[in-house]
């Protein structure tokens, strides 16, 4: 993803995430638009670029958050790496795989995010209540959101990386 596309995309996603999506909360959970974008790009592009955008996306998340600046990047980069281990072609043949990858990736992101909040920011995490109230609804939102996001981003990906045909 080029900078001209990626930066505005994440900027818009950040603004939507911090202004509109908080009003759509179910319990305490809401869609993690930037996380979904990062995961979608990691699914599509398993090169280093996915991790680079995971880093940038994490910065955008933390910019309008009360969490210590940088923790989202810290989490998303390895998550994007793990997700990127799967081949992009697999997504195109299986719909279940991106759903599973998104659920796993988002769950890992939330779990590590809470751990880092607890130990870096001394945030009092109510481990018995938080998963059901915030984490699970958020992950469900993310799994639902990945389908349309993947469809849009796969078009962008195909434009940026046209398939080579041997003649």
């Amino acid at each position: 993803m080029s900078l001209q596309v990626g930066i505005p995309l994440f900027l818009i996603a950040m603004l939507i995430q911090a202004t509109i999506l908080p009003h759509l909360r179910v319990f305490g959970g809401q869609p993690d638009l930037i996380v979904v974008l990062v995961l979608a790009w990691a699914i599509l592009d398993h090169d280093r670029e996915g991790m680079a955008w995971a880093f940038v996306g994490g910065l955008f998340i933390d910019l309008l958050s009360g969490a210590p600046f940088g923790i989202s990047s810290l989490i998303l980069v390895p998550v994007a790496y793990l997700v990127g281990l799967t081949e992009a072609r697999v997504y195109r043949t299986s719909l279940a795989l991106p759903l599973v990858l998104t659920a796993g990736g988002a769950l890992a992101y939330h779990a590590v995010y809470l751990l880092l909040l607890r130990f870096l920011a001394d945030f009092p995490v109510a481990w018995t209540e938080i998963p059901g109230y915030v984490t699970v609804p958020s992950v469900i939102f993310d799994v639902i959101l990945i389908i349309p996001v993947l469809r849009v981003l796969s078009r962008v990906y195909d434009r940026l990386h046209p398939r080579q045909v041997k003649i």
Partner: protein
């Protein structure tokens, strides 16, 4: 011959005065049932012929209707806009009243521009920062009461931790009993007052205010109202659920208290000094 007779009869009717002449009683008898029927038929015909005229007006009416719908839509937008202005005016006037009542406090009014999107933290971001004199630790209020505390400041923006964030703790007291405690944010967005002494009388409906102790917040800012009390015999303290007066989901305009006179704690200085000397 028949023709002749008929012609003579016709002439006789004419000469005889027709309907108003000698045949008047007869025409009256015949016309009595005919009038209502005729009226009905005439009315129907008028209706049919009239409708063709109205059909011509139908397009005009539709145009009028469309025009009126457009005007109504414009007025609805205008009403919404004016209501927003009215609410902003109310909020600002309340904040002006607060500022007038507390001349010792410096106030900076700001707009809420974003919210923390994580779901775990309850923070807002406002459009005023260091250039406006805002510093870390400044209390944030709105027209209804205490909102939170500035935790991070950029040149033109500030990050505010709301008092219903789980990591927020505010020294508070109950208005009626004067009992003190600490108001702590809850995961679901509510508030809980903890560390209330067992002997204190806590009742549902009691108003919870900032105590000012610790110097983080000015005293007597409204936090909320007690909705339930939990008291256990074995516990050292009692707890109360508090409904915040501020609707944290609808924050739009807030004021940052940039300067205030903290509660005077100089009476404890001697105690602290003597303890440190030991």
């Amino acid at each position: 011959m028949t023709l002749g007779l008929l012609l003579i009869a016709a002439i006789g009717l004419i000469v005889g005065g027709g309907r108003s002449g000698f045949l008047r009683p007869l025409t009256s008898v015949v016309m009595t049932p005919l009038v209502p029927v005729a009226r009905l038929l005439t009315g129907g015909a008028d209706a049919v012929t009239g409708s063709s005229q109205e059909a011509g007006d139908y397009e005009t009416l539709r145009q009028h209707s469309r025009e009126l719908e457009r005007i109504v839509a414009e007025l609805q937008v205008e009403i919404v806009r004016l209501r927003e202005i009215e609410q902003d005016y109310y909020r600002l006037s309340e904040l002006v009243n607060y500022a007038a009542a507390h001349p010792d406090q410096g106030l900076v009014t700001a707009n809420v521009i974003a919210r923390d999107a994580s779901g775990y933290l309850r923070w807002i971001i406002i459009d005023r920062g260091a250039r406006d004199g805002i510093q870390i630790g400044n209390p944030v209020i709105n027209e209804l009461g205490l909102v939170g505390r500035v935790e991070d400041v950029a040149y033109n923006a500030s990050w505010v931790r709301l008092i219903n964030d789980q990591a927020s703790a505010v020294n508070a007291r109950l208005q009626n009993s004067r009992a003190e405690g600490t108001v702590i944010g809850q995961l679901q967005g509510g508030l809980r007052m903890e560390y209330i002494p067992q002997e204190a009388l806590v009742e549902v409906g009691d108003l919870v205010l900032t105590s000012g102790l610790g110097g983080s917040f000015p005293a007597n800012l409204v936090i909320g109202q007690v909705t339930s009390v939990r008291r256990q015999q074995a516990a050292l303290f009692q707890e109360a659920e508090v409904r915040p007066t501020v609707d944290f989901n609808r924050l739009q305009i807030v004021s940052v208290i940039t300067s205030f006179q903290p509660v005077d704690t100089s009476v404890f200085d001697d105690v602290i000094q003597s303890q440190s000397q030991r």
